[in-house]
Amino acid sequence: MTAFEAIGLTRSYQLEGVSVDALRGVDLTIGAGEFAAIIGPSGSGKSTLMHLLGCLDRPTSGILRVGGVDVATLDDGQLADLRNRTIGFVFQSFHLLARTTALDNVALPLVYRGVPRGERRNRARAALEAVGLEHRLDHRPSQMSGGEQQRVAIARALVGDPQVVLADEPTGNLDSRNGAEVMNLLRRLNGENGVAVLLVTHEREVAEQAHRQIHVRDGRIEHDTGGSVTLA
C-alpha cells in the first residue's frame, strides 16, 4: 500500500508567455505510514511537488497515484473529495479562519464531507484533545500563540482521519521551542496513528527528524535517503 506514487511527474507554468519548468520529471513513492521530508532550497520545486501530491494542482505530464487512484481520471469534484478524505494539510502560516473558534476551525473539513453538526463537534473536540488543546476549544486564533495555532491546524488535518499529512514548512513561523513541540506532535502522530507524514522544509535540522530525506533541486530529486525503506 502506497500513499503516493509519482512517475515522470512534470509541471510547467506559463509566465508572461515564457514556459517555466518547475518540475522536470520526478519519480517518487511514499509508502503508507512513512515519515519523510522533502528538502530543498527555495525555487527548487519542492512546493510545486507538494501541491501536486496534495492534489491542489494537476501535473503537466506524468502519472500521479494518490492512495492507489490515478488523479488524472478524477474531475474537480472528485479531486476535492480525495483531498478531503485522504490528505490533511498543515501550512506554514497556519491558515486558520480568523474569526472562528478553534473547534469550528477544526470541524471545517467535516462540513464538506456532510458530517452532521453534532458529530462534527465531537470529532473536532477529540482532535483538539489529541493535540493537547482541550482547554482552547472556544478560543479564536488571535487569542492563541503561534504554537497553539499550528497545533489547531494539525488537529484540523487529523480530524478527517487522512492517510497522509502534508506539512509545508510547519515550523517556519514558530520559535524553536514551539517548533520542536510541533515536530514532536507530528512524530507522535506518525508513530501512534500510523499516518504518513510528508514534510516540506528548507531547514536541515527539521528534515533530519524525519526517517527519510528527499532532496529536491532544480525540479528534480537530487538525492533520496530512503527510497527502499518502506515501512509496513
Binding site: 494539510f89 472562528t100 464538506y112 464531507r113
Partner: protein, 388 residues
Amino acid sequence: MRMALEALRVNRLRSALTMLGVIIGVSAVVILVAIGTGAKDAIEREIAGLGSNIILVVPGQLNFAAAPTQSRLDLGDVAYIRRVVGDPTRVTVSVQSGETIRVGRQEAFVTVVGTDQYVPNVFDRPLRRGRYLSETDVDTRRRVVILGSEVAARLYGDVDPIGRQATISGVRFRVIGVYETVGATFGVARDQEVHVPVTTAQRLIGVARINGIGIGASGPDEIEPLRERVVDALVQRYPGEKFSAVTQTQLLGTIGSVLGMLTGVLAAIAGISLLVGGVGVSNIMLVSVRERTKEIGLRKALGARQRDILGQFLIEAVLLTTIGGVLGILLGVGGSLLIQALSPVPASITLWSVALAFGVSAGVGVFFGVAPARRAGRLDPVVALRAE
C-alpha cells in the same frame, strides 16, 4: 447559512451600506407604487361618487384637452332624449356659469348649475337640509337655490340658511336646500356649486342652450345599449354633427389606464434604483471574494468543491439582499403610512408591490451574486493559498 451570516456580521458597516442600496430601492418601489395606487383609488372613488350607471351626454367630441364645443342642445332636445330613453325621470339637465353669490356682506364665487327635479334620480347627491328642486320650480322659473355645503358654510356660517335670501348676479333667490358634502370630481369642487332651476338659470345667464344631459341607466347592462341609442338619436336629429356620451366605465377605464401607466413608470424608476443597489451588492461581493482569496484556497484544500464555494458566496449575496429587502419593505410600508398620515397624498399599499419588491431584491441577489460567486468557486487553490 450560519457561515454567511457570520461573514456579513464580520463586515457590519460594509454589509449595512450595501444593504442600504437595496433598502432604498425596495422602499422606493413600495412607496411610489402605494402613492400611484392611492391616487388611482381616490379618483376611482370620485367617479363612483357621482352615482351609479351614469351616462353624460355632451355636444361635440369629448376631449379632455380642449375647451368644450359650443353647445347646440336646448331644452327641446332634453324632451326628445327623454322620449328616447322612455323614462323622463331618469334624465336630467345642466347649464353652468360662474357667478357671484352674495348674502349681506358675505360673497362667494360659485358655479351656478341650472338643472331640474330629476338630479337625485341620476346623481348621488344627498341633501343635508331642505328639499330638491320641484317640477313647479322649473316650470314657473322660480328663483330658488340649493347650496353646496361649502357655499352654505361660507355665506351663513352656523345659521340655518333654509328660507333665507341670497343674491346671485343681482337677482334675489330663496334658499330651499343644502347638499351634503360630496367632495371633488376631476377638480370640480362640487361643494362649491349651487343648483337653481334650469329655466331660471337660462334667463339669469342669458342663454337658451344647455351644457349637458345626464342619464341614469337602470342597471350596468343597460348602460352601453342606452348610450348608443341616445347618440344615434341625436345624430339623427342633427345630421352631420357630433355628440358624445361617456359612461363612468369609460372614464374609469381611461383614467385607470393613465394612472396605471403612471404607477408603472414610478415603479420602473424605483426599480432602477433597486438595480443600482444590486450592482452595489455585486461590487461588494467581488471585493469580498478578493479579500477572502486565502480563505477560499484553504476551504478548497480542505475539500470544498466549486459548488460549495459558489453556494457559500451566493447565499451571502442573497442574504444581503433579502435582509435589505425585508428592511426596505418595512421602511416602505412605514413611509407610505407616514405620507398618508401627514399629507393629502393618498397611499395605498398593495401586496403585489411588496411581493414584487421582495422577489426582485432576492432575484437581484442571485443575479448579481452569481458572477462573484462563480469567480470564487473557480479560484485555483494553489494561487488562492499563496495570496497574501
